[in-house]
C-alpha cells in the first residue's frame, strides 16, 4: 500500500503545484480573516481565550476550503474511476488524501501563524512555541482525518460546497474546543501559563477514534 499512497500523494502535490487551487486560497482566507478581526474587534492585540478562539476558528474555516477541493480532480477528471479499476487497496486513497490535507494545513500555518502573531497577538509566542507546535500538529491530524472523510462524502453530491461545511464543522467542534483550551494558556497576556497537557490527550484520542472510524468506512464511501 505504501507505493500506492506515495503515488497518490505525489500526484496531488503535482496538481497543486500546477493549479494552486488549495493552499493559496486557504492562506489568503486566513490572513484576510486575521486582518478583519484586527479591525473588527477594534483592538490592537488579543491574548488568552480570545486569541486562541480567533486562531482556531480561522484555521478551521480555512481548512474547509481545502476539504472542498480535496476530491474535485478525482470527481471531475475521472480520478475515481481510474483508481477504482486499479488493483490497489482503496484505503490508500484515504491515507494519501489525509496526508495531503495535513500537509496543506501545515503549509498554511507556516505563514498564517506568524501573521496572526504579528497582526493580533499581544505577548507573542516566545518560549511556548514547542507546545503550540504540538497542539497544531495534533489538531491538524484530526482536521485532516475528518476533512478527508467528509470531503469524499460531499464530493459525490451536487451541493458539495454546502454539504462539506455543514457536516464537517459540527464534527470538528471537539477539535476546536480542545485546541483552543490547550492554546489559550500559551497565549496569555502575562506570558505562557502552565500547559494543559490533558487537552493534548483529548486531541490525540479524537485523532485515534476518528482515524480508525474513517479507515473502516472510507471503502464504502467510494462505492456508488
Amino acid at each position: 500500500m505504501r507505493g500506492t499512497v506515495a503515488a497518490l500523494i505525489r500526484k496531488d502535490l503535482q496538481l497543486e503545484r500546477r493549479s494552486f487551487e488549495s493552499v493559496p486560497a486557504m492562506l489568503m482566507f486566513s490572513i484576510s480573516t486575521f486582518v478583519l478581526f484586527h479591525f473588527g474587534l477594534d483592538r490592537g492585540s488579543l491574548a488568552g481565550d480570545l486569541a486562541a478562539g480567533v486562531l482556531w476558528v480561522t484555521l478551521l474555516l480555512a481548512a474547509v476550503l481545502g476539504m472542498n477541493r480535496l476530491f474535485v480532480a478525482e470527481r471531475e477528471q475521472g480520478g475515481f474511476d481510474g483508481f477504482l479499476m486499479a488493483p490497489v487497496d482503496r484505503t490508500a486513497l484515504f491515507v494519501a488524501k489525509a496526508a495531503v490535507l495535513f500537509g496543506f494545513l501545515v503549509a498554511v500555518e507556516v505563514v498564517a501563524v506568524p501573521a496572526f502573531v504579528i497582526l493580533l497577538l499581544q505577548p507573542g509566542i516566545g518560549q511556548a512555541l514547542p507546545e503550540l507546535l504540538a497542539v497544531l500538529l495534533l489538531a491538524d491530524a484530526g482536521i485532516a482525518v475528518v476533512g478527508t472523510l467528509i470531503g469524499a462524502l460531499g464530493v459525490q453530491t451536487r451541493a458539495r460546497d454546502l454539504i462539506i461545511p455543514l457536516i464537517a464543522l459540527p464534527l470538528l467542534v471537539p477539535v476546536v474546543i480542545a485546541a483552543a483550551e490547550a492554546t489559550a494558556p500559551l497565549l496569555a497576556a502575562g506570558g505562557a501559563n502552565e500547559f494543559p497537557v490533558r487537552w493534548l490527550g483529548v486531541l490525540a484520542l479524537y485523532d485515534a477514534v476518528f482515524g480508525l472510524l474513517a479507515y473502516a468506512v472510507f471503502d464504502f464511501l467510494l462505492e456508488e
Binding site: 500506492t4 503515488a7 496538481l15 477528471q77 477504482l84 486499479a86
Partner: protein, 234 residues
Amino acid sequence: MATAAPAGSAPAVALEGVGRAYGERVALRDVSFTLPAGATVAVFGANGAGKTTLLRVLAGLLRPHAGRAIVLGAELPRESYRARGRTGLLAHEPLLYRDLTVRENLRFHARLHGVDGGRVDALVEQVGLSARGDDPVRTLSRGMTQRAAICRAVLHAPELLLLDEPLANLDPGGAEAVAPLIGRGTGPARVLISHDAEQGLAEADWVLGLRGGRQAIWAPAAGVTLADVRGLYA
C-alpha cells in the same frame, strides 16, 4: 463468425438477466450474453439505450441491480476485486488529470497497476505523442487526448477492453497508430461501443443491440446486416 475461445478458458463476460436503474429510470433491463475470451462484441444502440451503463457495470463502476454479471471469472460486485487491474476502460471522458502531462498521467497509472515505467515511453512513442508527452493534457487537441487515453486504457495489458467510441476524434493517422493497441486480434476480449455500423460490424465477432435498455439483438456479427443495426436507431 465468432472467434472461438481457447479450449477450457472461461468466458470474458457472462451476463444473465442483468439490469440497472438510476432511481426510477431503468437504464438496462434483462441483458444476457456470453462473450468468449479474446472475442469482440460490438454494442449498438441509440443515445440512452444503455450502452454506457453496460460498460460501467462491466468495469465494476456500477453495481448491477438485477441478474448475475461475471467478468473474467469474477462475479460482480461481490468479487470485483478479482477483476480489478484486468480490465481497461476507454470512456467518453479520458480519465486523465488535465493539469498533469501525458507522461505524468501514465506514470501515475503505471504505479497504480504495478507496471514498469518503461512501458509508458514505449506507448507514448507508439501513438505518436513523443513530442507532446511532456505537455499538460489540457493543452492537447481532442485527438491527442484520445490517444493518451488509449495509452492509459491498455497500459496494464488488460484481458478485457471496454471501448466507448475508441476512434472518436482520431484522424486516419491516429486511428492507424492505435490499431495495434486496441484493434481486432490484439489479444484481449473487447466490448466495443460504436455508432458506425459498418466499422463496428467489421471489428466484431458478436453483436449486441440495445433498445431502451433492453437487449434487441444478440447474434454472431456475420449474421447481422447493416439494416438490422440501423433499425436500432429508427
